[in-house]
């Protein structure tokens, strides 16, 4: 403070005590409404009925799942293949809830059980499920039959997803206990049957001939909708781009 500059300042509006209190109250109401508004904005992404994300094994129905998940990420921590990710702000009220991007890294039940379910403190991943065969995440569906290699009678040689693909999978014949990079496991198949070969659930997918002609090499993957748990392993391993087989999260098998 060198020179008094008070003269240059415009005269301040003088508010009485009551006016000040009123202004504080109005500002507080506006701020409170603002915070509530931002909170409610989280409704926009979940406003559509139904599920938009593939949830981890055992997830309750989407609405109940969102209500009960405490957003702690303990399921993410126990997953041996790091299939589980936590949703960001674009998921609205789903912020912090776990999901699986099966194409990038599917759940292949490498944990032998359902570790994520055991880790869940709230039962958002239902504790009623004890083994992988009881899980219902969705159903595999041959969503793009025209690109399926088997349906064209083609084999597959090489790396299923290329050498840069970071995804991992437990190949029981290679290492019973530890998943290895899919990029370290080349294939040489006369007819591509990767989705059937790597499916962790017995009899969930099978290869069926496309015609009665015994010389016809063409095959088609057929999903047994009574058995498939929707884990997404087939979606991850499918070598076509985009994947010919994907998980339909809206579909759940009828026999539970």
């Amino acid at each position: 403070m060198t020179e008094p500059k008070a003269k240059k300042k415009p005269a301040k509006k003088h508010l009485s005590r009551k006016q000040k209190q009123r202004r504080t109250l109005l500002l507080s109401m506006a701020a409170g409404a603002g915070v509530t508004g931002v909170g409610l904005a989280g409704y926009v992404p979940v406003a559509k009925n139904g599920q938009t994300r593939l949830r981890p094994p055992g997830a309750l129905d989407e609405r109940l799942f969102l209500a009960s998940c405490i957003k702690c990420g303990q399921c993410e921590q126990v997953c041996p293949v790091n299939a589980i990710k936590l949703a960001d702000i674009m998921d609205g009220f789903g912020l912090g809830t776990p999901y699986i991007d099966a194409r990038a890294q599917a759940c292949d039940f490498s944990c032998d059980a359902t570790q994520c379910i055991l880790a869940c403190p709230t039962g958002s991943l239902s504790h009623k499920i004890n083994k992988k065969e009881e899980v219902q995440m969705g159903l595999a569906r041959l969503s793009s039959p025209t690109t399926c290699l088997a349906r064209q009678g083609q084999g597959f040689v090489g790396l299923a997803r290329g050498e840069d693909f970071p995804g991992i999978h437990r190949y029981v014949e290679v290492d019973r206990w530890n998943p290895i990079p899919i990029a370290d496991h080349p294939y040489d198949l006369e007819i591509c049957d990767l989705c059937v070969r790597e499916c962790p659930i017995k009899n969930a997918i099978s290869m069926q001939p496309l015609s009665d002609d015994p010389n016809d090499k063409r095959r088609t993957p057929v999903v047994n909708t009574d058995v498939c748990v929707g884990c997404g392993m087939c979606e991850m391993i499918c070598p076509t781009e985009p994947s010919s087989i994907t998980i339909d999260i809206a579909a759940k098998r009828e026999s539970a």
């Binding site: 109250l25 405490i70 960001d88 912090g96 709230t122 039962g123």
Partner: protein
């Protein structure tokens, strides 16, 4: 009504947003009345003013508690990260819910939100909440805020900058009504119950930060950044003072906690240093000259036990106290 019960209810009312106000004449104890009268005598008054001048002349800032407190916040949050990154399974999860060497822990507010949203009482969550409530009850309720909450630390750093900016006229501290926090508490509880969504968790910076430390950066951090900007330029400690329902939840736990900040009217010179640094200065209303209704008083429910008032107090009128352990400490 006993003086203790009256003081307790008053501290809850003040926590919810009521102005502390001047106590009624009948609220004062005889000792307090006598001491106030004594402090008003001209000789004593002169001595007091001289003492204040003296102490303000060579005032050295003390960070006796702060260094431990910052270390505590960093350590607690680091434990979550280390547990996951190095797979040592010490504290798995986030601040919203976790397992401490296998035992369930659930943040009280997050637990309340999901219980209201799904309208079901879950054993694991109740066990986790009771464990957490007992732990924070022992060390003082809102001690969670100042000794564990990562947003509190970020906000504290922003506050230091904010005060510098205010000094230069580059920022303002617009006061809001504290009752806003109590209203929002009810609003978020009602929204969880009515919509079945944990609406508050969408904007909860504590959860967002805690998850970001362990699971990686998210866009949601932009919201935390926005809150900090508001606090930097416009409203000092906006979130902690006026919004956060977690604070209220832990206040209720702290209101009956044995660990408190204790005020001694004998030692106090009423210079107001404590109120200037306090996140919740309304709890220190008894340090205003003539307001203390008793000679020895415990600071109320909303106190975060951060110890900043202890550091600011030049006379040692404010101390930490664990009730029932008086002789042992």
């Amino acid at each position: 009504m006993s003086r203790a019960l009256k003081a307790y209810l008053h501290s809850l009312k003040v926590m919810l947003g009521a102005a502390p106000g001047k106590p009624a004449k009948s609220d004062y104890s005889e000792e307090a009345k006598a001491l106030h009268a004594y402090k008003k005598t001209p000789e004593v008054r002169l001595v007091r003013l001289a003492k204040i001048r003296e102490e303000l002349a060579d005032k050295k800032p003390s960070y006796k508690w702060r260094k431990w407190r910052w270390a505590s916040i960093i350590l607690i949050n680091l434990m979550f990260v280390v547990s996951y990154k190095f797979d040592v399974q010490l504290v798995e999860g986030a601040l919203t819910a976790s397992r401490l060497v296998g035992f369930h822990m659930a943040d009280l507010n997050s637990g309340i939100q999901i219980t209201l949203a799904q309208k079901t009482i879950l054993t694991n969550v109740v066990i986790g909440m009771v464990t957490v409530a007992v732990l924070w009850w022992l060390v003082g309720g809102r001690a969670f805020c100042s000794w564990a909450c990562p947003y509190h630390l970020a906000s504290e750093w922003v506050e230091m900058l904010h005060l510098k900016l205010v000094e230069r006229g580059w920022a303002k501290d617009i006061p809001l009504h504290r009752g806003m926090r109590a209203v929002l508490y009810v609003v978020f509880a009602a929204l969880a119950f009515i919509t079945s969504f944990t609406v508050f968790e969408f904007i909860n910076p504590v959860g967002i930060l805690s998850r970001a430390f362990t699971y990686g950066l998210t866009l949601a951090l932009a919201w935390v950044g926005l809150l900090l900007l508001i606090e930097l330029f416009f409203i000092r400690r906006f979130w902690c003072r006026y919004v956060c329902p977690i604070g209220i939840t832990y206040s209720l736990v702290g209101s009956v906690s044995p660990t408190v900040v204790h005020y001694d009217l004998n030692e106090c010179l009423h210079e107001g240093e404590c109120r200037a640094v306090c996140l919740v200065p309304h709890v220190l209303d008894m340090t205003i000259k003539g307001r203390a209704t008793d000679v020895n008083m415990d600071i109320g429910a909303d106190c975060t036990r951060c110890g900043m008032c202890l550091e600011a107090c030049p006379t040692g009128a404010l101390t930490f106290k664990v009730k029932g352990l008086g002789g042992l400490l």
